[in-house]
Every structure is written in structure tokens, then in C-alpha cells.
Subunit: 163 residues, 2 copies
DNA sequence: TATTGTTATACTCTATAACTATA
DNA sequence: TATAGTTATAGAGTATAACAATA
């Protein structure tokens, strides 16, 4: 039994009690819904693939931002990653406590911290990156390389759309 | 100042202290990162656009699933939406308490609840849908209709990729 | 005055284990 | 035994207000 797609027929007494029969008519037309589902799919698989390293998505974002921008301030790193300053504190503490990054008072501004990868952090990020490549290759195996690039390009344009 | 993209040059003493200068070299190549950013962008704007209605993304998902599948069980609705059963309870309670849905014991299985929209819920979902269309049109205004459809198609294929 | 980092706090989302009532 | 819904709980993620030190 496939249920009607039309809201005009909601007076029916049909029931949808099995997942196979269920339609998601409206939701399927919404980009936001699909972003929600796919991003949570990626988050769950990321956690499974890298959980033993203790590297969560947020933490990898911070690590790789520091790697690509050595000496970056805590606040600046948070800003590009969309992490608010109060929430950066415990995340950076976590990475420092685990010996993956170093936090030094900036010479030119003694309020600020300059963040650097430690050698251990540099190793850790490489290990993580290998795992992440595998995890993305697995989840995206039904897309061609072109489609994958297209997807990144579309998402990037959405991110860059500014008020 | 634009920082080097090469990890081989991380020995530099350059600092990236302003957001404009910061590169996200590795992250920008990861689909998971872009999904994370765009989905959180959509979630934040959704909350702003529909906050006064008290309709959050999850709640809209439940409401529209009930609308498109009247009489669906609580568990079945959660299953298609990726919401675990324990977490459905308070969400459904919320919608019942606000008079947007009705919960009736199923005739054929007295453990189960059949969920139905109330007339107020049917009105509410229409209002919400108008707002959501506007909100999506705004966030996706830099994409053509074809690109939007392409994006939904790509995301849907990722969702349907099964182990 | 403004900014960097901090603390405290709260709310949502998600996940697991254990219970009850029905099947 | 298995399933539908429930309760309790805990861990992330995210948001705001208020503070100290420094600019």
C-alpha cells in the first residue's frame, strides 16, 4: 500500500504503520531537510570512524585550521569555523590537555593566545585525515568525482551567500 | 597577507590573526564539513524565521510526516525521520499539548498510538510551510532552479546509499 | 570604550539502559 | 519473546550574559 501524496485526501482511514510505506512528500522538497539528514549521517559515521582517536568533527576543524594557519588566535579560529568564543575555551583546553596543540601568549597582544600544532598534533591530524578520506569515500561512493565536486561547489556557494 | 596553502611551509612565523586572511585548505575539500556548515546555517535561519510559531525543524518534520501519512504510529514516524523512540515522546507530547496533533490508541494494537493532525495543526503547518519556502528561497537565492534540484538529487542519493 | 579569553548557565539534540503494557 | 511507548539520564552542541585583563 502506497499512501496518497495529496493533502486533499487526508480524510482517508488508511494507516501507514510500516516504514516502507511512509512518504515524506513535503520534506523531500526541502533542501534544509536533506542537509539536516545528510549532515547527521556524516556526523554519525565520522564519530564511528574516528571515535577511537578522540577526534570529533569540531576538534578536527580546529586542528586543521591551526595547521593551515599556524599562530592563529583562538578567537579568529573560532570565527572562521563558526564556533562562538565561549565554546572555544573547553575545545582548545581539550586539545592542549591532550598535547595536540600549544597555546602561547601573543607577543603583540597579551590578551590573545597564538595556537600551534605540536609534533604529536601534526601526526594525529594526518592519521585523522586518512580516516576521514576513507569515511567520505564510503559515504559518497555512489557519486562520481564530478558530482562530488559539484556538490562541494553548490554548498560553498550557499555558505558564501551573504545578507 | 594570504597564508600559504602548503603544509610543508608551516615552519613559517607568519600569523593569521584576522578572519579575512584565514584559509580553510583541508576543510574546504571535505563534503562533511560543508554539510555541517550549511545545515547549521539552515537550522539557525529556520529558527529565526519560525521561532515565533514555536515550530522547530524536528517538529515540522513530525507534523508534515503525520499530514502526509495520517494515522501513522509514533514509532514509524520517528523511524522515517531518524528520531529514536525515546526522543519522540517529548516531541509528540509537545505537539499534543499545543493542540496541533491528536494521539489515539490504535484499534488493532493497543500498545500503539495513531497520530493525526488537528484542524489547528493543519492550519499551522500551512503557515509554517509558507515561511519555510521564503526562508529556503532566501538562503538559496544564488542557485538556479536547476541547481537547487541538482542539490536535492545529490543529497537524496547520499541518503539512499546503504551499507 | 572595545576586545580576548573566561566562567556560568541553559536549552536543544541525541543516545542508551531499563521499565510497562501489550502482542 | 518481541514490540510500542515511556522514564531517566548523560553527553554533545550551541547560545547568552557578565566578568577580568589588556588594548
Amino acid at each position: 500500500m502506497i499512501l496518497s501524496a495529496s493533502p486533499m485526501e487526508t480524510g482517508t482511514t488508511d494507516h501507514a504503520t510500516e516504514a516502507d510505506e511512509v512518504r515524506l512528500n513535503v520534506l523531500d522538497t526541502l533542501v534544509g531537510y536533506h542537509l539536516r539528514r545528510t549532515s547527521s549521517l556524516f556526523a554519525a559515521d565520522f564519530a564511528e570512524a574516528l571515535g577511537d582517536l578522540g577526534i570529533r568533527q569540531v576538534l578536527f576543524g580546529i586542528l586543521s585550521t591551526i595547521r593551515d594557519n599556524p599562530g592563529i588566535n583562538q578567537g579568529a579560529a573560532g570565527k572562521v569555523l563558526g564556533i562562538q568564543r565561549p565554546n572555544m575555551v573547553s575545545l582548545v583546553n581539550d586539545l592542549v590537555d591532550r598535547g595536540l596543540i600549544e597555546r602561547r601568549v601573543a607577543r603583540d597582544d597579551r590578551r590573545a593566545f597564538e595556537l600551534q600544532l605540536t609534533p604529536a598534533g601534526a601526526v594525529q591530524i594526518e592519521t585523522a585525515l586518512e580516516r576521514i578520506r576513507e569515511h567520505e569515500d564510503l559515504l559518497l561512493r555512489d557519486l562520481t568525482a564530478d558530482e562530488r565536486q559539484m556538490l562541494i561547489a553548490l554548498l560553498t556557494r550557499i555558505e558564501r551567500t551573504r545578507d
